[in-house]
């Protein structure tokens, strides 16, 4: 069994490493796919395992995006002059400055949202159910409006991130951002997988199933909820930082705090794949991305209608997601022992 798992992971790894060379024209889409998977996996920690439907994870993503770009510029040049629209000065990063700045930027983009998650989590994770969902929805909207008014990060003008330095090959930029997002994805997966194999996941599930009972059992649910959110924030911030560099232009409500698209997509992807599973968000995000790109190519002008139909179909036919549907259909493949006689007896009882 271990061997079989190893083969799977190795083949995914090899595929991931080779992908930008096999499909050189699709590097950007592949990088975005990695970012989407990260967002889906991290959303699943709240929405799937913990039962807290968060629309606020976009806050950490946007925060990471702005922080990474600001640090990357601010380390070497005056940030205000960079973002001021009428500025006649043009600053150019040397390759060393670009990569150094990006590295430090990513670190900041991951760490600061983690701290923010800890702070706001302390105050709002006490809310439950719909109240929590609405509250987090507000967080993302508020962040978008506030950042759209801060002059030093470009306000309504937007923030053009440093252009990729000219280091020979035209392909370098795509490869660089692809590997950044792929490595982050691997990192996210490993961390999430390893915490899911500990007591931590059981606590999260206990919170989902009955929070009061979990508390009565002596579990400090608040602590776990906050830690769970901080883990999500760390990787969302990282993903945001990479996405900022990849897109090259940050707009407060359309790119960074894009609750209308990214914020909803991360929920959809996790539900499509099957929330509360490890592989669900991965599969969900991949299928979602492929469909989305396909719709955008073949249903020009109608893509959102097609996407809407897809969502309706998911909700009606796969309410438990693809993994949930598979589990229902082939329970034995998920290591569940089914006693036929027992199952029949249960059906008859009803």
């Amino acid at each position: 069994m271990i061997n079989k798992n190893l083969i799977i992971y190795l083949s995914v790894l090899i595929f991931g490493l080779a992908a930008p060379f096999i499909f050189p024209a699709f590097k950007v889409q592949l990088s975005i796919l990695c970012v989407l998977i990260i967002l889906a996996i991290t959303w699943n920690i709240q929405g799937g395992e913990m039962g807290y439907n968060s629309f606020g994870n976009i806050l950490f993503y946007g925060l990471g995006m702005y922080l990474c770009a600001s640090v990357q510029v601010g380390m070497f040049f005056p940030l205000a002059e960079w973002t001021e629209s009428g500025g006649e000065k043009t600053f150019v990063h040397t390759p060393a400055q670009f990569f150094q700045g990006f590295g430090v930027g990513l670190a900041v983009a991951a760490i600061v949202p983690t701290i923010v998650a800890g702070l706001i989590g302390y105050s709002i994770l006490g809310l439950r159910g719909h109240y929590f969902a609405i509250c987090t929805l507000g967080l993302g909207v508020a962040a978008g409006e506030i950042s759209g008014g801060i002059e030093i990060i470009g306000a309504g003008q937007g923030f053009t991130t440093p252009p990729f330095p000219n280091i020979g090959s035209l392909e370098a930029r795509g490869e660089f951002f692809y590997f950044c997002s792929f490595v982050s994805l691997i990192l996210t997966f490993i961390v999430v997988k390893s915490i899911y194999s500990t007591r931590f996941k059981l606590v999260l599930n206990a919170i989902r199933d009955n929070e009061d009972k979990a508390e009565a059992m002596g579990i400090q649910t608040m602590k776990y909820k906050i830690i769970g959110w901080m883990i999500s924030a760390f990787f969302c911030g990282l993903a945001g930082g990479i996405m900022g560099g990849l897109v090259g232009y940050i707009d407060s409500t359309d790119v960074a705090f894009d609750g209308r698209e990214m914020g909803v997509f991360m929920v959809l992807m996790a539900i499509l794949g099957g929330k509360g599973t490890l592989w669900g968000p991965v599969i969900g995000a991949t299928i979602f991305h492929i469909f989305k790109e396909g719709f955008w190519t073949f249903f020009l002008g109608w893509q959102y209608v097609a996407l809407g139909v897809l969502i309706v179909v998911i909700v009606i036919y796969f309410p438990e997601g693809i993994m949930g549907w598979l589990r229902e259909k082939y329970p034995e493949r998920f290591g569940e022992v089914v006693d036929e006689a027992d199952r029949k007896a249960q059906v008859e009882l009803k």
Binding site: K27, G158, G248, G301, Q303, Y304
Partner: protein, 412 residues
């Protein structure tokens, strides 16, 4: 653990889909020069995105039917690959990448709006793909040192500069009190910077400086302040929705202000949608059909207006006219470069110096068009209630006299 098999199958299926779907277009296929464009067909800029697309299509039709483009002794025709950027900068940047690296496009047309152009420019610049854009006016586009970006329009900070100066002039050279409200996007914020500069130079005072949200539907709070403070000029900019919202609510709230200066009046079809309520609004425009510029393809503004109306069923706003002009610039550059080499075409574009029905086009080193002034028109209605946009400034083209101050609502 059969689920793992499923995953393997799944991954290989994706691989298969990806490898079969990379159909590549080349920049020049047979006798076609293929240009790439991402325009907003959906989302908040969709109406202007369609104006842009119609402008492009009209010019492609016209150039192709009038003999096409002659390069190296052979005749070529234009063709455009369109994508929908959904009025979203993130999508626009992705599509630029996609047009270039997947569809193999080597020459691009711009999207609608400054924000989206800002998102696409770094990508086209990286690949050295010449982009002629007609709808990104933000000044910051032209200070980044882009070499492959050319804009046929005047930068955004000049849009309403004239309005402020006119107001000051009419006030006997003394500074005026300005109330302004701008959408939080790259273009409108740049118009704002232009007003700030003009206010500083003329000694005018800005008494209200509001920011309006994107997806603009309500600006009652700003108008309430305007009613209370009585400024001399009210400036509003927020694309099509901004213009419509402002006129609707000014009429509803009966806000009296001596001068109302806006952008996007013609794109919003103000005079048609709001009739007499839109009367006296002063609008910045890149182009107007009565201007006397001429070219071989569209003849002049009036003919363009008539042809466009025949083809698409509505009068062309300046967004359509400037988009058509972008194709004329490309044609001219291809013929002068006499080659499809991107560098040579880029150099030919940089050396452009021509007149089109839309105006003179000559690019500054930053890529903006410096030889075409902005015009201001005023919505003027006759007694039967029919409203028209009449040019009032600059004086050279003025077909009507500016009506100032705007009569009070109680006297209309």
């Amino acid at each position: 653990m059969k689920i793992k098999n499923f995953i393997i199958t799944f991954v290989s299926a994706i691989a298969l889909i990806l490898s079969t779907s990379s159909i590549s277009f080349a920049k020049v296929v047979g006798d076609k020069i293929i240009l790439g464009a991402a325009v907003s067909l959906t989302g908040k800029y969709s109406s202007n995105g369609v104006h842009t697309q119609n402008g492009y299509n009209m010019a492609v039709d016209r150039i192709n039917s009038m003999g096409g483009i002659k390069v190296g002794g052979k005749t070529y025709k234009f063709d455009i690959i369109y994508y929908d950027d959904e009025s979203n900068p993130k999508r626009a940047a992705q599509l630029a990448e996609r047009l270039i690296s997947q569809d193999g496009v080597e020459f691009m047309l711009g999207p609608y709006s400054s924000g989206l152009t800002k998102a696409m420019a770094p990508v086209t610049e990286k690949y050295g793909v010449p982009m002629v854009e007609a709808n990104g006016a933000s000044r910051s586009l032209f200070t980044k040192g882009y070499k492959y970006l050319f804009a046929v329009l005047a930068p955004a900070n000049l849009y309403l500069d004239v309005a402020i100066r006119t107001a000051v002039e009419l006030n006997g050279g003394k500074g005026v009190k300005i109330a302004q409200a701008f959408e939080q996007d790259a273009f409108s914020q740049d118009v704002r910077l232009g007003i700030l500069d003009a206010a500083k130079e003329t000694g005018s005072e800005i008494i209200i400086d509001d920011k309006l949200p994107k997806e603009l539907n309500d600006m009652a709070a700003t108008l309430a302040k305007v009613k209370a403070t009585k400024p001399d000029v009210l400036v509003v900019s927020g694309h099509t929705k901004g213009a419509l919202t402002a006129i609707r609510q000014i009429a509803e709230m009966k806000v009296d202000v001596p001068m109302l200066a806006m952008t996007h009046c013609d794109a919003a079809k103000l005079s048609k949608q709001h009739g007499k309520n839109s009367q006296y609004a002063l609008c910045a425009s890149q182009w107007h059909k009565t201007l006397t510029y001429k070219d071989k393809w569209f003849k002049d503004g009036m003919t363009y207006d008539a042809d466009f109306t025949k083809m698409f069923g509505y009068a062309p706003p300046y967004q359509a006219a400037e988009s058509s002009a972008a194709l004329l610039v490309f044609k001219d550059a291809f013929e002068r470069a006499n080659s499809f080499d991107q560098k040579k075409v880029r150099d030919a574009l940089a050396a452009t110096d021509m007149q089109t029905f839309y105006g003179n086009i000559k690019f500054a080193p930053g890529g903006q068009n410096v030889s075409k002034p902005m015009v201001l028109f005023q919505v003027i209605c006759d007694n039967s209630g029919k409203c028209e946009n009449k040019v009032v400034a600059p004086l050279k083209w003025a077909s009507a006299k500016l009506i100032h101050p705007i009569p009070k609502w109680s006297e209309r």
